[in-house]
């Protein structure tokens, strides 16, 4: 262990690798802040560069982008109310209301420290418990995945601030959208109406940007107010005080644990982690009614959880050779190009390289702690100085470009325009938008696992309660749903 630590430090603390970590983290923060683009695209674009550098440097570059991007998205959520990345969707709930209250700097501080804590926590856990967590994750089959997806979807109860019916409508719209396209099991086309472009389904990026970004442009045309009119003091991002960090230690820790565990389960990513952590934070809170009004616990729970996924996702990749999410799949591709195959053998023989990756990512998290604050200050300053006649076309243009880049197709741009109007009307009647995003992401996992489970059991639903992990997940899901009602005191 000690030898691996020394060897890992030897790899990371070279000028080339330190430079790579710095530039990759900076790039991740910038790309995370730009709405819709996200760290995944940056990782894909940079992949060819990693072929010409050592494998460990390539891994460090890609994972540092992930670390920076996961946090950068939260900054846009806090300042503009537009999620920079899908994983920062849940951050909008409390970060944006806090900014509206004139505390944008404070909101950014919680975004940055939440991300930092989640990221470092998951990496430390990764160092000590990776093989154990990997064994648990491997025991997951379709019923457990279905349960986990249901748990994520049940978070909508916590997200529906005023009307559960409206939250459920939003969730069902998202689940329906996720079902559009080619059915994975039978290859039948569903609701494509003969349009070839819809056979691959509806991508998350046009829906996200339509709902959150284009609807805001439409709102502006009505109210002539795009962003909060920040005062000078509100523009200065500030770290939470030690007293505040201590006060919210439970929120930091709980969300980090949730993020790490969810990250370790292949195919379940940051978005689910953020929503589940948010719902759980609300469930255990002494004042759940304040969630959604701009409270630190809400911001911390989302940001710590989504960044903790970065460490958790490494666990199945390194120990079992199964990528935890899309970004670790690309990291695996880098390793393959260098003739390395992640898996049990790799985990036992390449301990120095793996430790170097952990150390590099911890450094990236520390860098993010400063870069995030600096980046936020820069963005907030720019937004405050920018006139709305520049900001409005700017937001629309970035949204259009990010959407077009998904598949270089104008169909996605059309989808974005449609969801711009949908988002505008849904906001008007107070139907929450975030459950749509949650459902689009979880829908395929839920449907696929549900159908596979029922296929295994010949249509017998008891399969979900006869397997221990599945039963445990379902019990937790039921608790998550009924808890708010059990807690309500009779009036």
């Amino acid at each position: 262990m000690f030898d691996a630590l020394i060897g890992g430090c030897g790899i990371v603390f070279t000028p080339l690798n330190l430079l790579i970590i710095f530039f990759a983290t900076t790039l991740g923060v910038i790309i995370g802040i730009a709405p819709g683009i996200g760290p995944f695209m940056a990782v894909v674009v940079l992949l060819p560069f990693t072929f010409n550098i050592p494998a460990e440097s390539g891994m460090l570059a890609l994972m540092s982008i992930f670390v920076g991007g996961a946090m950068g998205g939260g900054i846009t959520s806090a300042i503009l109310g537009i999620p920079g990345t899908p994983m920062a969707t849940a951050t909008v709930f409390d970060a944006y209301p806090m900014s509206k209250k004139g505390q944008a700097g404070k909101a950014v501080g919680f975004v940055v420290t939440g991300s930092f804590f989640g990221g470092v926590f998951s990496l430390v856990v990764c160092i000590f418990t990776a093989p154990l967590l990997a064994r648990v994750a491997l025991a997951f089959g379709p019923p457990e995945y279905a349960g986990l997806a249901l748990m994520g979807l049940s978070a909508v109860i916590a997200l529906s601030q005023e009307s559960v019916v409206k939250g459920i409508i939003s969730l069902l719209i998202g689940l329906f959208l996720a079902a559009v396209g080619t059915d994975e099991a039978t290859a039948d086309l569903r609701f494509t109406f003969g349009m070839m472009q819809l056979t691959k389904g509806i991508d998350i990026v046009p829906v996200l940007l339509g709902l959150f970004s284009i609807s805001k442009v439409l709102e502006f045309m009505e109210e002539r107010l795009m962003v909060i009119q920040y005062d000078e003091k509100a523009l200065i991002p500030r770290y939470p005080s030690r007293k505040e960090i201590w006060k919210y230690k439970g929120a930091y820790l709980r969300a980090s644990v949730i993020g790490t565990i969810i990250g370790a389960i292949p195919g379940v990513g940051s978005v689910q982690a953020a929503f589940i952590a948010y719902a759980e934070a609300k469930r255990v809170s002494k004042h759940p009614e304040l969630f959604g009004t701009g409270i630190p616990e809400g911001i911390i729970s989302c940001e710590s959880a989504d960044n903790a996924v970065s460490g958790g996702a490494l666990i199945p990749m390194l120990t079992l050779g199964i990528p935890g999410d899309a970004i670790t799949a690309i990291v695996m591709a880098t390793l393959f190009v260098h003739g390395l195959t992640p898996g049990p053998h790799f985990f036992q023989t390449q301990t120095v390289m793996i430790t170097a990756l952990y150390i590099g990512m911890i450094i990236s998290n520390f860098l993010m702690l400063f870069l995030g604050m600096y980046g936020a200050r820069l963005v907030m300053g720019m937004i405050a100085r920018t006139k709305e006649s520049v900001l409005i076309p700017g937001v629309a243009l970035i949204s259009m470009l990010a959407t077009y880049c998904v598949s270089a197709s104008l169909t996605d741009v059309w989808i974005m325009w449609v969801f711009g109007v949908v988002g505008y009307f849904l906001v008007k009647v107070k139907i929450p938008l975030s459950p749509i995003i949650l459902a689009i992401i979880l829908g395929p996992l839920f449907e696929g696992s549900l159908r596979r489970s029922l296929s295994i059991s010949d249509g017998d639903f008891t399969i979900f309660i006869t397997r221990p992990y599945s039963a445990l997940i379902l019990a937790l899901t039921v608790l998550l749903i009924v808890w708010p009602y059990l807690r309500k005191k009779p009036t």
């Binding site: 009307s163 039948d188 107070k430």
Partner: protein, 167 residues
Amino acid sequence: MIFRAKNLNRAVAAFLVFFSLFMLWVAYHPERPSGKTWATDAMVYPKGILFLLLISSVILFLQRAEKGEGKIEKIPSLLAIYAIFIGYSLLLPHLGFLLGTFLWVSLMAWMAGEKRVWMAILIGFLGTMTSYLVFWVVLRVPFPEGKIIGLERFFGKANPIGSFFDV
């Protein structure tokens, strides 16, 4: 022209009811016959979702509008901005990315309150050139080339960075 909250709530609910009914009709008339179990029938799951959406939408329709639910004002300016979005997407394949985006961004800037025409044009120009550099030159995203005015062909040849980013 103002559309009040109560009407809007009901209008959205009514739209969702019709949407669910239409999609249910589509689900019950698949392109080819499907199997009869969860695993083999592709439409069982969406049908379940749509039935639930139908029930929830009916409940929403019957609910009273809550206090503070918004009203829609300035419908003409909303329609105008939306017409610009639609017009841009329709004209993009004909005008090409560069000219189309320049016109679109300039018009958006003017509609967003920039009354100095030269400034709106400058915003359009800078926005387009920045997008061109970042997305076209650096990220190599293939944007639509204009059928009528193909500025892209000229800029494509005059790519200042060339193949620097091709490893």
